[in-house]
Symmetry: C2
Subunit: 336 residues, 2 copies
């Protein structure tokens, strides 16, 4: 049904029926505010704003995937603190041309990931807009001391979960569809782009075991996010290019750009963290426990050494500047 | 400085310096998530999305006032539950033409109201956008049982705080500036439009004393918001037009529209609540305590009587349909 016929309150009612809830929600969608249980004496809050034409393009992304990814990127932020996600609030600016089924698909995408993590949608706001605007605010519990960006120390190891560069390479393939490309491999990467896996369990275990000294999720690109840890912790970092974990699909399709996407491509939503050298065996054990690959990719050095990528023979590797700054660069559509 | 020169991270740093904080914030702006204290075992969450050209127009509103109002409307939602506001997250979509001082003014507006209510800005997200987009998510504590929309009962009295219609009439004057209008009076109404007073103390006392059976804030217009209480509570309502509290300025400038703005104009952010007849004296006492006028404007009747406005001699008064539905109506620029 067209939104102009259904109306704002009709839409809210449909959303209320789809939106996942939990037994910790005392009062969900439909009042002036949601009312929820605080299960720990502190909590974590993160927010993301996604705008059509800036962060995503509806020609490339389904509303379902967009819902999935909206939640995923926020879950990833809570994961990067070692927290347990719990409640999300979603505000939407919706163009008049939209049909209610599109918004329902968006919430179904959210629900598909929310149920896995026992996250409840507890409220939000709705408005007309010229383009689709998605604003999410996720709250999580903090059963363990959260891991910030600022605790890394010189001689710490640097680790990353999963594989890097898949999302950025997948996005490239999505836009350009080069001829002769193996579709099965491309499709794996594109799925990684549309449906990143937030590493909530790994983040939580790292906090519980007090293993990570500093942590961030890789949203802006490995080097930029490592830069955030380095700056907050007052350290430098050396990364071994050879150790960067890449997927089989990335390996087979990467020829042109080598490790560039793994170093500077964004939106992998893997966890990047530092840990003491003495904890190497415990990190390996954690990898076995969670079945999530964890690669040791570098070491923390003193701040004046900056951030350096070393090639196979130990030579410094130069790489094109990457990462993302909303205001400094020209508008480029990312497909969040 | 132009945002294109300052960059996203430069802007975040400036915002961090202006944004108010509190001793309950363990970790504020600058990490993957904020980390804050939960002082009660439940908490309240509300969100608002404000879009340039839909909710506000920068020709009529300063960035400072816009910041103030962004926080005010969210505080009002927490007030309407009887909660205590604590932490706010602000996401902004910012056009490239903006200068950083404009965004700083916006946060100064937030700060001016935040400090009064001991609210901390703990995070958010920033993006480029074609128009200014403001998304706020406010969390509050719930020291008392929250007051929902659904507890009103037949024979309950209906009350409203402050005065009604000032904001909508003020907005009208802001747009049309009629000749010969008394500027001092107009300016009072326009200020009420730009800087509504969230009734946090009254809401909290009503919850503490368990005096309100149902409550909502008047954001969409008295009749529409009363309709929300009526629907959620399964009641009808009779309102006496003569009893609607209007300001001196409204009274002197209202000639053309009578009580229309008081009945259907939105954005007053007063509290509308129901209470038992036996509690009339306690409500009067509360009025004395808080120094906020509280007017008894009607009574709860059975659902089948609907919502009726009665004139001076008890005759039903008809009024033009009002209130606000984002999708059903043609786009009308409201000024937040």
């Amino acid at each position: 049904m067209k939104l102009s016929r259904l109306g704002e309150f009709g839409l809210i009612e449909r959303v209320r029926r789809i939106a996942p809830t939990s037994r910790d929600v005392r009062l969900g969608i439909g009042d002036d505010a949601a009312w929820v249980r605080a299960k720990t004496d502190t909590f974590l809050v993160t927010a993301d704003l996604l705008i059509e034409g800036v962060h995503f393009n509806l020609d490339w992304t389904s509303l379902f995937d967009l819902g999935y990814k909206t939640l995923a990127v926020n879950l990833s932020d809570i994961a990067a603190m070692g927290g347990t996600p719990a409640y999300v609030v979603i505000s939407l600016g919706i163009p008049r041309r939209f049909r209610s089924t599109q918004i329902e698909d968006f919430y179904k995408g959210i629900r598909s990931l929310a149920s896995e993590h026992k996250v409840a949608v507890v409220g939000g706001d709705t408005s007309v807009a010229d383009c689709l605007i998605i604003s999410a605010c996720l709250m999580g519990h903090a059963p363990y001391q959260p891991i910030t960006r600022s605790g890394a120390e010189v001689t710490n190891d640097i680790y990353v979960t999963g594989t890097l560069g898949d999302s950025a390479l997948g996005f490239e393939l999505l836009k350009n569809k080069p001829a002769g490309m193996r579709k099965d491999l491309a499709s794996q990467l594109i799925t990684r782009h549309h449906k990143p896996t937030p590493r909530v369990a790994v983040g939580s275990l790292l906090a519980r075991e007090r293993l990570a000294t500093a942590m961030i999720d890789v949203s802006d690109g490995l080097l930029q996010d490592l830069g955030h840890i380095a700056e907050a912790s007052g350290i430098g970092a050396t990364v071994w290019e050879e150790r960067l974990p890449i997927s089989r699909a990335y390996h087979q399709l990467e020829e042109k750009h080598g490790r560039r996407y793994a170093l500077t491509g964004g939106e992998d939503y893997e966890l990047l963290f530092c840990a003491r050298r003495s904890d190497r065996r415990r990190i390996e054990k954690l990898q076995g426990q969670t079945k999530v690959p964890i690669a040791r990719i570098g070491t923390c050095v003193s701040a004046d050494e900056g951030i350096l990528v070393l090639g196979r023979s130990g030579e410094p590797v130069s790489f094109p500047a990457g990462g993302h700054d909303h205001f400094k660069k020209q508008p480029v559509v990312r497909n969040t």
